[in-house]
């Protein structure tokens, strides 16, 4: 009986033991997995950014309604399409089925000879030399919680056609740009003339009726026929492509052509001109399938077009360039029916499809570039579904110099957001990485000598009683919240350094000199050996005195050498600009923050050099210093190296100090008197504002991943070196 209970109890205990084993193992492993999760989740967010785009045909049908398609458009979500035909009809249709929703016919005095568009604004050039601007609108309503789209037409310049060419020649090409006051139009006629006109627009308050008034008109004659034209939104440049591969940039003013022209010769015929979103970039489509991006840049005092980059696929003539409505991407079609998606900033070729097998005539994007509608030479409509969320990113965008719109040369720029819609995001991680390294570098410059020299003294020369208090005191520094250090750096040290700049530099010289002087004077002290090991304590008042002295000397020195103000002297004489929150302040305070990390590890390494080595060296007649440099330091050098690496890792990831003590401007300037923006500070500033899963958000996650990997690798190396060291000592 008793045996039985014992047996059961034993079983129970064994069972409990097994359960505990599983519990602990699963718990332990899951904690390790949770830690790994950090890495994998960051990776999971980052990876989709580097994938390519995806384009699929969703529907294909004969063009709804009569006539030949001359222009296409899409509603914001791509559910309703619009088709302008050569017989003056505007058909709105359901894009999935091709069923006509609304059929409007335009009242035109003559046949249509040309067309172009600017988002939802379409301008039609007629055979009698006049033009008509039409805008298609989609009104949204939500009866019974279903999205209902009601299309309609609008006439922003009135329903009367505008007479552009007074000699009544057919307009072979036409372009329009609207602004607040009215509109600018430009056209090419079938007798090789270019016409430019500006209209003022007035809307009656009472009836809402629109009246237009001609403000100016001018024209000039060309030798060859025009193949394509483009007009900038600012109405000051008209680009015309002429047969023979010539691109002419005509400068315009209030009254039309001002006589200023520049010619650019291409090796191939230009088949298509198109301005990218924002109107800063001119895309030039050639008959060899190449598309070139040109931008107006400052050069030798004037402005001229410069070749930025090109996009190339095959040898087919470019037939149409459709630009995205919210980004700097575009689709290019050719005579064989190929459609290719590109992105300008990243110079990426994102996707490619050919399902029409006939020359593509027109294309149009939906607002968010999720749908592309296409019409081909057989009057067939194709609807494509596009997944293209992160075209902005490429290796070059992140790490290379990129020629952005509005800049005069390629540069590294970080500027993730702006107030305007047609803004080109600039995601170069270079300035941020540079700032990170710069901040860490200056911090190390200050921290490494103090920490390592201090560790040498503490480990080998300091009296044991003093060491017992000094070591924890410095280690407690490590626990000081960096937000406090950052606050002191930004609000106390930065203004102080600014007014005592000369004093700070004096201090750097005066401190070592002062220590040497003390050492020399100490030599005359009788029975000094009882103070051996307490030198550091003796020097504390000296340090205080020297700090006080150099601060007192600060303004006399500035008066003597720098005309009273070192900052303005530096900027006038040496061209060094001074930011109040600069690398010097960051270096001092962040140096202060990493000193304990370096000190603690280096001191451990130096202290754990076996005593018999030290004693042996001393017994052989070496001085204390000789023992230090030739026995202790070599033995502990891997430990010191790993201490420096750890310190560097900490400086790289430090957030609050740099956030508070720098101006957070992403500059690439190594000057000690300039601020910087680091990866970590950038994360703290921008992550809360980034739209979830946008490109910006993912780039920030990439920055976090870089920080993670960087510090992880650095620390691992340091750790491995330290392990090696420990093994070596255990052998001794």
């Amino acid at each position: 009986m008793k045996n039985q209970t014992l047996h059961t109890r034993y079983n129970q205990r064994a069972f409990k033991d097994r359960i505990a084993r599983y519990f602990v193992a699963s718990g332990g492993i899951s904690v390790i997995i949770a830690i790994l999760l950090i890495f994998f989740y960051l990776l999971y967010v980052v990876v989709p950014m580097f994938g390519s785009a995806d384009i699929n045909e969703e529907a294909s049908y004969a063009a709804p309604g009569e006539g030949r398609t001359i222009h296409l458009g899409l509603e914001e979500q791509g559910s309703i399409g619009v088709r302008f035909t050569d017989n003056g009809h505007v058909y709105f249709f359901d894009t999935a089925s091709g069923k006509i929703v609304l059929d409007e016919s335009l009242k035109l005095p003559a046949r249509i000879s040309s067309v172009s568009s600017n988002l939802d604004l379409v301008v039609l050039g007629l055979e009698n030399g006049s033009a008509m601007a039409v805008r298609y609108k989609f009104d949204l309503s939500y009866p019974d919680d279903t999205r209902t789209v009601t299309p309609r037409l609008e006439y922003p310049l009135g329903e009367e056609p505008l007479v552009l060419d007074e000699s009544d020649h057919a307009l072979s090409h036409i372009v329009i740009q609207l602004n607040e006051d009215g509109a600018g139009l430009a056209a090419a006629t079938d007798d090789n003339r270019l016409v430019s006109a500006r209209y003022l627009r007035e809307e009656s308050f009472i009836s809402g009726e629109i009246s237009t008034e001609l403000a100016s008109r001018s024209e000039l004659v060309l030798k060859n026929p025009v193949t394509s034209i483009a007009l900038t939104p600012t109405l000051d440049h008209l680009y015309a492509a002429i047969k023979g591969g010539t691109l002419i940039d005509y400068s315009l003013d209030e009254d039309g052509f001002d006589g200023d022209t520049t010619e650019y010769q291409f090796k191939h015929e230009i088949s298509r001109l198109q301005l990218l979103l924002g109107g800063n970039s001119l895309m030039v489509g050639l008959d060899n399938g190449e598309v070139q991006q040109w931008m107006s840049v400052r050069k030798d005092g004037g402005r001229e077009l410069a070749f930025i980059r090109n996009f190339h696929k095959n040898q087919q003539t470019v037939t149409y360039i459709a630009t995205e409505q919210q980004r700097k991407g575009f689709a290019v079609s050719d005579t064989k029916g190929d459609i290719t998606l590109y992105y300008s900033t990243s110079q990426r070729t994102l996707a490619h499809i050919n399902s029409a097998n006939a020359a593509i005539k027109q294309m149009a994007w939906s607002a968010r570039a999720q749908n592309l509608i296409v019409s081909d030479a057989r009057n067939q409509i194709h609807l494509y579904d596009v997944h293209n969320e992160y075209p902005e990113i490429s290796w070059d965008v992140l790490w290379g110099k990129i020629w952005y719109e509005g800049y005069d040369e390629p540069d590294y720029i970080w500027q993730s957001s702006a107030s305007t819609n047609d803004f080109e995001p600039k995601f170069s991680l270079m300035p941020l990485s540079f700032g990170t390294i710069k901040a860490a570098f200056y911090a190390m410059l200050f921290a490494v000598p103090i920490a390592i020299l201090g560790a040498m003294f503490t480990a080998q020369f300091m009296a044991p009683r003093m060491r017992q208090t000094v070591k924890p005191a410095i280690e407690i520094m490590e626990a000081l919240p960096t937000v406090i250090l950052g606050f002191l750096a930004g609000l106390w040290l930065a203004p102080y350094v600014e007014t005592h700049l000369a004093g700070i530099f004096t201090l750097l010289l005066i401190l070592p000199a002062g220590f040497l002087l003390c050492a020399w004077l100490w030599g005359f002290m009788p029975n000094k050996s009882i103070y051996e090991g307490w030198e550091a304590a003796l020097l504390v008042p000296v340090v205080l005195f020297l700090i006080w002295l150099s601060m007192q000397l600060s303004s006399p020195i500035e008066n003597l050498f720098f005309n009273g103000d070192m900052r303005s002297y530096m900027s006038n004489e040496w061209g060094l600009n001074y930011d109040q929150r600069n690398a010097l302040v960051v270096g001092l305070i962040m140096g202060f923050a990493v000193i304990p990390t370096i000190f603690s590890i280096a001191e451990d390494a130096l202290f754990s050099v076996p005593q018999h080595l030290v004693r042996g060296s001393l017994a052989l007649g070496a001085t204390r210093w000789q023992t230090m440099t030739s026995v202790v330091l070599p033995a502990a050098s891997p430990g010191i190296f790993s201490a420096v690496m750890m310190g560097f890792g900490r400086a790289v990831g430090e957030t609050m100090i740099v956030l508070m003590a720098t101006g957070n401007t992403p500059l690439m300037d190594m000057s000690i008197f300039q601020g910087m923006r680091t990866l970590a500070a950038n994360l703290a500033v921008e992550v809360p504002e980034a739209e979830v899963f946008s490109t910006h958000y993912r780039v920030l996650f990439l920055a976090a991943l870089i920080l993670f990997l960087f510090t992880f690798v650095f620390n691992t190396l340091a750790e491995i070196i330290r392990h090696r060291l420990r093994k070596r000592y255990s052998g001794l």
Binding site: K16, D17, A20, R21, V24, A25, G27, G28, V31, A34, I35, I38, L42, G454, M456, F457, F461, M462, A473, E475, I476, A479, L480, P481, T482, V483, I484, G486, F487, G490, L491, W492, W520, E535, L538, V540, V543, L544, S555, G564, I595, T623, R624, W625, M628, R650, G653, T655, L659, M660, L683, A684, V692, A704, L707, F708, T711, F712, N715, T716
Partner: protein
């Protein structure tokens, strides 16, 4: 000869040793200098400084400035062009004072510079009075008389001259009592009713979404709502009478430019006459100010008042974090040290865990925001709180996510410390226990873990110290500059894990860098810093002494 001597001296190494000593001296000066700076600046803020009157002339006008001296500095005349023009001397230095004049509503700014050489006279007027107000910062001036509104709304003189001050003090006590009552009503009871009403609305919406909103349920909700509304009305009436009561008294006072202003007592929090106070009186005042700093809510965009919610938020977050991190950290350490097969893999894992302590905290913040807030929180919302959507419940930064993120951040600290503790326990003890027939878990539970508990405590304390000072990740996962309510209150379910909270460290960042009036807020930031430093240094010292005791203990066992 001298050159030879010098080179011999350098060869002896003595100067280099002194240079090394100098480095450690610099480090020590930096550490203690910094701590003393924070201590001094933080603690001097609450001392009722004397208020001085400065007299000087300017274009035939006599000007008086009544102010506290905040700091003084000596600057060369050459940098001050305006002074040079006035006085003609180009050399030498002038002393200038940064003084706090208060009266922001009248003067536009709290601070101004005064130059020594312009001064005619400087004195400490006896009866100058300082008021701490609800709005516009401090007031400096002379008390004239005390007034009271009679029931008809007419202002009647109650006291003036000598009697004014004691009468004012008495009435200030009364108005402060009433304000406290109002606050209690508004924040406590009315807040609770609003909270219940909101929950009721969500409950109704949830029932409707699930198609379970029967007529009976709807009726129940309606009656409950009606009751609450009635209670609300009653409480509102109560506060209104209190407001009438608090509006009764007012004072008039003379400002430094000679004009008289009227200040209602409801706008005044505290009044004192610093130049009349004795040292014990000042000490008493100091302790009271310090106490109210710790226990009161902030005012005026955090630049005035106390920091209680920040302290509370920090403590709550740290406690939650400790609850999360301790079991996981200990289990992981026990697994790594006691159960896992010691091999290359475990060594790699150990190094990896060790190094996670060195990964920048902001990376944890980014992970916390992406994974906890958007992924976990978003899914929790979709599953359990669809009625509140599109307003997020857990899909937004909050207390729970902050604690979890910091738990992850401090996990390596706990694991490393616990492992170290486990490895220090002599093998003989374990073997003894096993030899006596105990199973592995029994050995662990009754012998090993109790002996390792100081190590676990050390790890936990270090984790807490790190978490309390960490700001960067919290900026992403849950801290706000001003939280409307505490994460713990009297409303069911009492603990609101989804709420955002305030934090001491973030408070320092926010007030020091994002407040409109940094100069006025600076002493407060120093005081907050000091508090944070004290907490963290104390925690660390505890951890260090625990660690040392632990080492001593096992050293004895080893022998």
């Amino acid at each position: 000869m001298i050159a030879k001597k010098t080179s011999a001296w350098f060869k002896s190494g003595t100067p280099w040793i002194w240079l090394n000593a100098g480095a450690i001296a610099i480090a020590l000066v930096a550490v203690f200098g910094l701590l003393l700076l924070i201590l001094f600046r933080g603690m001097s803020h609450f001392w009722p400084a004397n208020v001085e009157a400065f007299y000087f002339e300017n274009d035939q006008n006599n000007i008086t400035i009544i102010a506290e001296v905040v700091e003084s500095e000596t600057v060369p005349v050459t940098t001050l062009h305006n002074i040079e023009n006035i006085h003609g001397n180009k050399d030498g230095n002038v002393t200038r004072y940064l003084v706090k004049t208060g009266n922001r509503d009248i003067l536009g700014s709290d601070f101004r510079w005064i130059y020594d050489i312009e001064l005619n006279k400087r004195e400490k007027p006896e009866n100058v009075m300082v008021l701490e107000r609800i709005e516009w910062g401090n007031f400096y001036g002379y008390l004239d008389s005390v007034y009271e509104n009679d029931p008809n709304g007419k202002r009647q003189l109650v006291a003036s001259g000598e009697q004014a001050w004691p009468e004012f003090r008495k009435r200030l006590q009364r108005s402060n009592d009433i304000r406290e009552q109002i606050l209690k009503l508004e924040k406590g009871e009315i807040g609770a009713i609003n909270y219940t009403l909101e929950r009721l609305r969500l409950k109704e919406k949830r029932l409707r979404m699930d198609g379970e909103l029967t007529d009976k349920a709807a009726e129940e909700i309606a009656t409950e709502r009606k009751q609450l509304k009635q209670q609300y009305e009653a409480l509102l009436k109560q506060t209104q009478t209190l407001y009438q009561k608090i509006n009764r008294d007012s004072i008039t006072a003379t400002v430094m430019d000679g004009s008289t202003v009227t200040i209602p007592l409801e706008k005044i929090i505290k009044a004192w006459q610093p130049n009349n106070m004795s040292v014990p009186g000042k000490l008493n005042f100091y302790v009271h100010s310090l106490w109210s700093f710790i226990t009161e809510d902030p005012r005026e965009a955090n630049t005035e008042g106390g920091i209680f919610p920040a302290i509370f938020g920090t403590v709550m977050m740290v406690i939650l974090m400790s609850i999360l991190v301790t079991p996981f950290g200990v289990i992981a350490a026990v697994y790594l040290r006691e159960y896992a097969k010691q091999g290359a893999l475990i060594r790699i894992i150990r190094i990896a865990v060790n190094n996670l302590a060195g990964v920048p905290s902001i990376v944890y913040g980014v992970f916390g925001l992406g994974f906890f807030v958007y992924f976990l929180g978003g899914n929790i919302d979709a599953l359990f709180f669809p009625e509140a959507l599109p307003g997020p419940t857990f899909g937004t930064p909050g207390l729970l996510w902050s604690s979890l993120t910091l738990a992850l951040l401090t996990l390596p600290v706990v694991i490393v410390a616990t492992e170290e503790g486990l490895s220090r326990i002599p093998k003989a003890l374990r073997e003894g226990s096993l030899a006596l027939g105990a199973t592995k878990i029994e050995t662990l539970w009754h012998v090993v873990l109790p002996m390792a508990s100081p190590a676990i405590m050390t790890g936990l304390i270090l984790a807490v110290a790190r978490a309390a000072g960490e700001v960067a990740p919290l900026m992403l996962v849950g801290v706000v500059k001003l939280a409307p309510s505490l994460p713990l209150d009297g409303n069911f379910p009492f603990m609101h894990l989804d709420r955002k909270f305030m934090h001491l460290g973030f408070h320092i960042y926010d007030v020091g860098f994002q407040s409109p009036n940094v100069e006025a807020a600076r002493p407060l930031v120093y005081a907050t810093s000091f508090l944070l430093v004290v907490v963290i240094v104390a925690l660390n010292l505890t951890a260090i002494s625990l660690r040392n005791r632990l080492r001593e203990k096992y050293r004895a066992l080893d022998n």
